[in-house]
């Protein structure tokens, strides 16, 4: 249950940070900023979903994690790490072509890694783990 509370706290912090960021910066609402906000909201939503899933398991008195959920997490992590290498290569490439500031590039990379992990997790769940 402790881990579930941590997940909700992290999701809450992400949402609050995004709201503060939107309120305190002069946003131009260009495509890049809209995409970043959307990615942040999707990730926070995913964290909330994950938290509810764990809370539901707790209420049903079943383990919050078992061999399948751990394996999905491991497979999604390794796959997203592999894809993230290409993301960072791409960011290195566009850093020379654009005038984006360093912190924007790093922020985009971190957010991109989180989005890649989310899609990897969804993909592994959808296609299953036929480890034979």
């Amino acid at each position: 249950m402790k881990k579930t509370i941590v997940i909700f706290v992290v999701a809450g912090l992400v949402l609050v940070s995004f709201i503060l960021w939107i309120l305190n910066t002069s946003m131009s609402w260009d495509l890049r900023e809209i995409l970043m906000i959307l990615a942040g909201l999707i990730l926070a939503g995913f964290a909330v979903y994950f938290g509810f899933k764990r809370a539901k398991s707790f209420a049903r008195k079943e383990p919050a994690e078992d061999e399948l959920s751990k394996m999905i997490m491991t497979r999604a992590s390794s796959f997203s790490y592999y894809i993230s290498i290409y993301l960072w290569l791409f960011i290195m490439y566009i850093s020379d072509k654009t005038k984006w500031e360093t912190h924007t590039l790093i922020g985009t990379g971190i957010l991109g890694m989180a989005v890649i992990f989310l899609f990897s997790w969804l993909g592994v769940r959808f296609f299953g783990l036929k480890n034979d």
């Binding site: 398991s57 049903r60 008195k61 079943e62 383990p63 078992d66 061999e67 399948l68 959920s69 394996m71 296609f127 299953g128 783990l129 036929k130 480890n131 034979d132």
Partner: protein, 64 residues
């Protein structure tokens, strides 16, 4: 690898929830197993077969 979990579950009049609880996994894992989207660890396969009081190879069929 295919399995006959659904068939055995029906024979023992067990829900997915019942089986999950007995072998100590989440219901979702049983769903994945029945859909053939996941191959269990040897321990889980053993626990499931034990729950149905049969040998592992009667529940899990290995394709040559």
């Amino acid at each position: 690898m295919t399995n006959r979990i659904r068939e055995f579950r029906a024979r023992f009049d067990m829900t997915q929830d019942d089986l999950a609880r007995k072998v100590g996994v989440r219901r979702e894992t049983i769903v994945f197993l029945e859909k053939g989207k996941y191959n269990p660890s040897l321990k889980l396969a053993y626990d499931i077969a034990k729950e149905f009081k049969v040998q592992i190879e009667e529940v899990f069929i290995f394709d040559e």
